[in-house]
């Protein structure tokens, strides 16, 4: 098994590169030419569409450290992306996106090639993409780092974990996509993909593994093959759609510093419902994850551990005029569907995390937004930075989140 780093991360240059990315965004947006269509190759050549965003957030919690040192207030909540696309031939599009992020201990401003794909659309029924593609799952997975695309600062973290950004959002491989009309029953949109996931040793999943028993740092992580798909039924009722996503990793494997190896093939099932009517948007999603890890080596007996969390949320948001949007969601996350009360845990509050969020979004312009959000939380199942949260109780705790995003 190899220890694979997908691209050199240029760690020592990450902050200058992140600043260069930000400077590029500002420079491009200030040019006289329309920022989103640039005739870079001459007036007769296809134009290049260029878009980007930079987001800066702030998190503060009444207790515990969540997504960073939030108990002291944390600005380690930054995202920036710059993408470009053009159509070199009929029905063909090439696009790429660079991305940098920092969420608590994850990301650390590494600049990565986030997306690089070539796409050919045969017709509305069938198209194909290849390269590093955004992985569709549910309403938000392929856009979970795009602050512009939602009301909330923080998506329900049990379902869209900001710390798993390094590998969960993309897949290196191929995808078939299309939209199938269903006569009077609307249409069925599909995306079927297969390729490699690339979790990083300094990414959020590795940090999670290191902060769970046996609390041993990982020294290698493979790049498992992942196959799956997302279906959307676009119903005949305007604004209503229902989705189903399934995916399976094959032999996700990691080894910790003691030589203990864990191998498992996780399954994910993800159900979605969305209704948009006038100024209202209603959403509901449920996700169930299941993996049986086989552990061996490291001088210990062979063992099996079943990991089976689930999570759901319901939300409502309303647009108020052209500038304001308010919303709320309630979500529950359970670390183990077979022990929802924490009866088998040293800290029973680690069994679940329930969160009520209230959000306000202000669009100062088409290119600049601000968000203010409050969270009322019970449970500590998502507080996986155990070193920073040595004592965890079931009392309610609170968090505020602020964020601003510039885009073009």
């Amino acid at each position: 098994m190899n220890t694979i780093a997908p691209f050199p991360t240029l760690r020592r240059f990450r902050r200058p590169l992140a600043l260069c990315l930000l400077a590029s965004l500002i420079a491009i947006s200030s040019t006289r030419a329309p920022a989103d269509e640039l005739p870079l190759f001459g007036p007769e050549a296809p134009t290049v569409g260029v878009h980007g965003f930079v987001s800066q957030g702030y998190l503060a919690s009444s207790e515990y450290n969540y997504l960073g040192d939030s108990s002291q207030g944390s600005f380690k909540f930054t995202e920036a992306g710059l993408n470009a696309s053009f159509d070199p031939f009929a029905r063909t599009r090439i696009s790429a996106q660079g991305f940098s992020y920092d969420v608590g201990p994850a990301g650390d401003y590494d600049v990565v090639l986030d997306e690089a794909q070539i796409e050919y659309t045969v017709n509305d029924l069938l198209g194909v993409r290849a390269g590093r593609i955004r992985r569709p799952e549910g309403i938000y997975n392929d856009i979970q780092d795009v602050d512009l695309g939602r009301t909330w600062v923080l998506l329900p973290q049990g379902m869209y974990n900001a710390r798993w950004r390094d590998f969960y959002v993309t897949v290196d491989g191929g995808e078939l996509f299309g939209d199938l009309p269903l006569a009077g029953a609307g249409s069925l949109s599909y995306q079927l993909y297969y390729g490699f996931q690339r979790p990083k040793l300094d990414g959020g999943l590795a940090l999670q593994k290191a902060n769970l028993p046996p609390y041993a740092r990982l020294v290698s992580f493979n790049s498992p093959l992942l196959g799956g798909g997302q279906l959307w039924w676009n119903t005949p009722w305007d604004g209503l759609r229902a989705g189903l996503a399934l995916n399976n990793d094959q032999d996700l494997t990691f080894v910790n510093v003691t030589g203990r190896q864990s191998v498992g093939s996780p399954w994910t099932q993800h159900y979605s419902l969305e209704y948009v009517h006038d100024d209202w948007t209603f959403q509901a999603e449920y996700l169930r994850f299941r993996v049986a890890y086989t552990n061996s080596g490291g001088g210990l007996p062979r063992s099996q551990v079943l990991v089976e969390p689930d999570t759901w949320y319901v939300s409502a948001a309303r647009r108020l005029g052209s500038s304001f949007e308010v919303g709320t969601y309630y979500t529950e996350y359970y670390a183990n569907v077979h022990d929802r009360t924490g009866a088998t845990l040293a800290f029973p509050s680690d069994a679940a995390q329930k969160d009520t969020a209230l959000s306000l979004r202000f669009d100062a312009s088409d290119h600049w937004i601000f968000k203010l959000e409050g969270h009322f939380i019970r449970g500590t199942a998502q507080l996986l930075d155990n070193i920073d949260n040595p004592v965890r109780r079931g009392d309610a705790w609170r968090m505020i989140a602020l964020k601003t995003t510039f885009c073009f």
Binding site: S85, S95, D124, I133, L148, E325
Partner: protein, 141 residues
Amino acid sequence: MKPYLLRMGLACLALQVGALGATPTPGALLIAHADVPADRIATAVLKNIYAGRTMYWDGGQRVVIAVLPDLTDSALKELSGMDASQFRTFWQRLVFSGRGQQPLKANDVSSLVALVAATKGAVALVPANAVLHGVKIIEVQ
């Protein structure tokens, strides 16, 4: 979506234009770049274009949507089921997930017409009294 609903939606433009103090005009027009290979288009197909499900014209040219905020919001809502803010957010999601390109935006009618005339594959809704140069009108069926 039934054609009569689209005509009702387009007719609402007259009320909106009237509210802005301009000369009231009955409805709006769908215009396109002169090379767009269509002289008429079904409402369902047009709806698929504005919802991002149809990305290319026959012949393979990419569809480029151009929008004129405020003056065409009602017709846009009728076509896509989204108001202007929802429409913008929807397309931002497509752009940053690598699945689409942001519609172009113009600040006034004459700029929009010029933009459509200069952009291959472009399509846009304009008020019916717009002065048109270098573009074609597409009949919505």
